[in-house]
């Protein structure tokens, strides 16, 4: 369908009259029998290569190709030898690279030689010795001949006719509906089995009131007097490494006790810091802490990376993934970056033995936002 007529704007410059030429270029077309466009001059004359005219050059090219193929064979042999001769643990020092595995580098380099030898040789052969006269292939319209196209449509229509779709339309309607629906059973099976529904699990963490704060990864409890000014502790709830209570989570699961350790950690991990109590701008933050010791959830409210970068002088917490910055003195309000909500605070106090404990779980969902999160 090369319908050139329906493209009104695509005509070429008409040479008739002096107006056809854009005046901005300062030239006026001459009148007379000058053609509208230049003629395609056809292929330029063939320029012979050195190898075409000089037998020495051809011989040289041949030798280069042979050398490259030989290099490839040597590379392959080298690979086999290196594979058997060199110990996998051998390391050696190369300037600029540092200590590298001898086996790895030798295998890689010999393999590269084996491959590049073939590739460069074949291309060089094609470029220098194979004929470099250009061939011309004519294009044909891609579409089928109009008769074929009509025939196609006719065959379709005829098929429909013979199947009596026109006379018995309900066959078509119900058949189509059945076809449209047959994907439902397998899809239902796979979608239904993919996973449990979240329930309120996203809003819960492993933290409950009265849990001791313990160090990650040592799992030892922390006394309040151990948290000196400027300190930061990476903290987990006591017992988070305990056994999963109900096994595989299902739709009944409401409690983080039913999750594995990593799933509990993904929400419960906490950062503990001590500031001078006078630095807090929020009374709530001060009250929920203990003598300037405050605990905040470490999971970013943006995309869920752990916000671990605590600057002890500015009291800023930075997320390394997308640079959301939280100000601890302002109850972990977002002061920069793509996060919106402050990090949730964990209310803490000390128990009889002076160890830090939580007084309650988190009072709001932790981590990234989701639709039904209030």
């Amino acid at each position: 369908m090369n319908d050139n007529d329906n493209r009104p704007a695509h005509g070429h410059e008409s040479p008739s009259g002096g107006t056809a030429v854009s005046l901005e270029h300062g030239h006026v077309a001459g009148s007379g029998n000058v053609p509208d466009r230049f003629e395609n001059p056809g292929l330029p004359p063939h320029q012979p290569r050195h190898a075409d005219v000089d037998p020495k050059a051809a011989k040289r090219a041949e030798r280069q190709v042979l050398a490259l193929f030989t290099l490839s064979i040597l590379g392959t042999l080298g690979f086999v030898i290196a594979y058997f001769a060199i110990d996998i643990e051998a390391m050696t020092f190369f300037p600029f690279f540092g200590h590298v595995s001898v086996l790895h580098v030798l295998l890689g380099v010999t393999m590269a030689l084996s491959l590049l030898g073939i590739g460069l040789g074949a291309v060089h052969w094609a470029k220098t010795l194979m004929p470099d006269h250009e061939s011309i292939e004519e294009r044909h319209p891609i579409h089928a001949a109009p008769a074929d196209r009509e025939g196609f449509v006719d065959t379709l229509a005829d098929g429909g006719e013979k199947a009596q779709l026109g006379r018995r339309p309900m066959i078509g309607v119900l058949g189509g509906t059945a076809l449209g629906l047959f994907a439902v059973p397998p899809l239902l099976q796979v979608l239904g089995g993919l996973g449990p529904v979240p329930g309120s699990q996203l809003a819960e963490t492993f933290w409950k009131g009265g849990m001791r704060l313990v160090r990650d990864p040592e799992m030892t409890p922390i006394r309040a007097d151990e948290v000196t000014l400027g300190s930061v502790f990476h903290v987990l709830p006591e017992g988070i490494d305990g056994e999963t209570v109900h096994g595989r989570p299902d739709s009944e699961t409401r409690n983080d006790e039913d999750l594995g350790v990593l799933e509990r950690k993904a929400k419960a991990v906490v950062l503990l810091m001590r500031l001078d109590p006078s630095q807090f701008q929020s009374q709530k933050a001060r009250d929920w802490g203990y003598q300037g010791i405050v605990a905040y959830n470490k999971i970013c409210t943006h995309a869920g990376c752990p916000v671990g970068l605590y600057e002890q002088q500015t009291h800023h917490l930075l997320c390394p993934c997308h640079q959301s910055t939280f100000d601890v003195t302002q109850d972990c309000k977002v002061i920069f970056g793509p996060a919106k909500r402050p990090l949730p605070q964990l209310k803490i106090t000390v128990d009889d033995e002076g160890y830090l404990v939580s007084t309650q779980g988190f009072m709001e969902p932790v981590g990234p936002s989701y639709w039904e999160r209030s």
Binding site: E13, N40, P41, G119, G337, P338, K340, Y370, W371
Partner: protein, 575 residues
């Protein structure tokens, strides 16, 4: 067979009468005969062997992509022999002492074993990762070549759409592979994915629980990503690549304009033997370069990252470069885009950079040929490529899109830019936020201006010939630089293009004054047409060249500067 001899020296014509087949040829014929008796393939294969492919380095980008994909498939099969896609808990006791006795998943342990305890395993792993990088980069560069030369136009729109899907799938495939080893970096990547899946309105948390079979991280995600990575996505990729290639054969390759090249022919080298040697050899070159890179340069040293634990993170947590633009978008989006109302939360600060960005970016890319065809109203088949300068608006649109992409891409490295350049990460982010909007506009304007001036330069060259550097003095004391006329082949390179005019806006009413129902759409289309084509430099016509020669070289006089006077004192030289 449509291969025809051309010109005085074309080889096909020179062959003359064929000599009797040699014994070797007879032998080959015998084997082939056995196959042909059973398949009838001799004819179509012969046709393919005679097919002509035009030669240009930029046509090899698609081959780099395909060959890298083959290398990734091969090495991927090797890796499956040792990799264990399981979150099962084990203690590491392998050769790497930096992790000795550490608890980790089987996936991570088996990746370490591939790296340290399987001979050549690290090489295969690195070849796999580097070839994936080359694959995605080559698909992207290939798409740029197609875009800037207009090769997506009729009849190749379907192939453009397939290519767009391939690029998206390649990124997804790469991301899945990056996530499999279950090291700290890949786990952080999955964590962010979980975050943005959750940001989907209404169904977000359900979707996340379905994908992870419950709470993050769970034990299901690694085996699920594994089957997607080794079977589902590769199967679709290979199928689409096959369709892509079939369409290339059906539509034949495009070619750059030039002397002897028309919209109705293909000028190049036949598959047998030249193209077979070149393309076949190129596979080994691509594989060789990937192997060399893998031998010398570490990629993804998983042993350095340690096992994944959702409570840990490392500085410089980034996705691989091909997902960098999405990560950068997440870094640039401001927090106020999260809204809470009526007990529901809409996190556009997360959704816009991920579940909205990916479909919109790739959707626009896939739709471009149809949008441009609608604006130009062009329904012709195009087999001759455009030089980018000859389609200034399209080239400018492309550069604007690339600028937009680059701004997001750079944002994903804002932390490293900060430490390497001694800048503040906050300042970099602010600047990039502004550049996201400003950059594409500037790029558009600058690119278009550059294209137009290059076209003007071409016109000058076509009209007045090449500057020879010789200064000639006329008898009446004027000086000018002599110009040498250019040959007809060079001339053809300069003038063989279309410069469409903008569509004329009709009144929108027919003869009886009835408003056309499509008037509004026509008006929009005319406006877009003006946007595309109102700045145009038409190709030089023979008439103009003749006129230019008549005019003499007045305005090129290098002394005097009084154009009018010079222009009138015309026929000084050159004729």
């Amino acid at each position: 067979m449509s291969t025809t001899a051309h010109g005085e020296s074309a080889p096909v014509a020179d062959r003359g009468p064929r000599p009797a087949p040699s014994p070797a040829a007879k032998k080959i014929g015998g084997v082939l005969g056995w196959f042909d008796d059973r398949t009838g393939l001799a004819k179509p294969v012969r046709y393919l062997m005679h097919k002509v492919f035009p030669d240009h380095w930029s046509f090899m980008l698609g081959e780099v992509a395909m060959y890298s994909m083959v290398v990734a498939l091969l090495t991927g099969v090797f890796l499956t022999l040792w990799f264990i896609p399981s979150a099962g808990h084990v203690e590491y006791t392998g050769s790497y002492i930096g992790l000795n006795g550490i608890h980790m998943s089987e996936a991570y342990k088996s990746t370490l074993d591939i790296s340290f305890d399987v001979k050549g395993g690290l090489l295969i792993r690195q070849i796999h990762h580097w070839s994936a990088n080359f694959f995605i980069a080559a698909v992207g560069l290939h798409a740029c070549r197609i875009f800037f030369t207009g090769a997506f136009r009729k009849p190749r729109e379907i192939n453009w759409v397939i290519g767009t899907i391939l690029l998206l799938l390649a990124c997804i495939e790469g991301f899945a592979g990056y996530s499999l080893p279950d090291d700290l970096l890949s786990g952080t990547g999955i964590r962010v994915m979980e975050g943005f899946v959750q940001s989907a309105p209404i169904i977000g948390s359900y979707l996340a629980y379905f994908i992870f079979d419950g709470a993050f991280p769970g034990e299901a995600i690694i085996p699920r990503l594994y089957i997607a990575h080794v079977l589902l996505v590769p199967a679709i990729l290979v199928g689409l690549v096959a369709a892509h290639l079939v369409l290339v054969v059906v539509t034949k390759h495009t070619q750059y304009p030039g002397p002897g090249r028309t919209n109705e022919n293909v000028v190049g080298f036949p598959v047998m033997p030249v193209y077979a040697a070149k393309a076949g050899g190129f596979f080994f070159i691509v594989f060789g370069i990937i192997a060399l890179t893998s031998a010398l340069v570490t990629i993804n040293p998983v042993w350095m990252y340690g096992p994944y634990d959702p409570s840990l993170v490392t500085a410089d947590s980034q996705p691989d470069w091909y997902m960098g633009f999405a990560d950068g978008a997440l870094r640039l989006l401001p927090g106020w885009l999260e809204f809470s109302a009526l007990g529901y939360t809409l996190s556009l600060n997360l959704a816009l950079g991920s579940i909205v960005l990916l479909p919109v970016a790739f959707g626009l890319m896939g739709a471009y040929p149809f949008l441009e065809a609608w604006v130009t109203g062009d329904k012709r088949e195009h087999h001759l490529l455009d030089r980018p300068r000859n389609t200034p608006t399209r080239t400018a649109i492309g550069m604007a899109a690339i600028t937009c992409y680059l701004v997001m891409f750079l944002a994903a490295g804002n932390d490293l830019m900060a430490i390497k350049m001694g800048l503040s990460i906050n300042d970099i982010t602010r600047v990039l936020q502004v550049l996201f909007f400003l950059g594409p506009i500037i790029a558009f304007i600058v690119t278009k201006r550059i294209c137009l001036s290059l076209q003007r330069q071409d016109r000058e060259l076509a009209l007045h010939g090449r500057e020879s550097g010789r200064i000639v003095a006329t008898p009446d004391g004027r000086f000018y630089e002599a110009h040498e006329p250019i040959d007809k082949y060079t001339m053809w390179n300069l003038v063989d293009y279309d410069a469409p005019k903008p569509l004329e806006l009709t009144s929108g009413e027919d003869a009886r004054g009835v408003k056309s129902p499509t008037a509004k759409s026509e008006k929009r289309r005319a406006a877009w047409s003006r946007f595309y084509f109102s700045d145009r430099i038409p190709p030089v016509t023979p008439g103009e060249v003749a006129a230019a020669h008549h005019d003499g070289h007045g305005h090129e006089a290098i002394e005097g500067g009084h154009r009018e006077a010079v222009g009138s004192g015309s026929h000084s030289a050159g004729h």
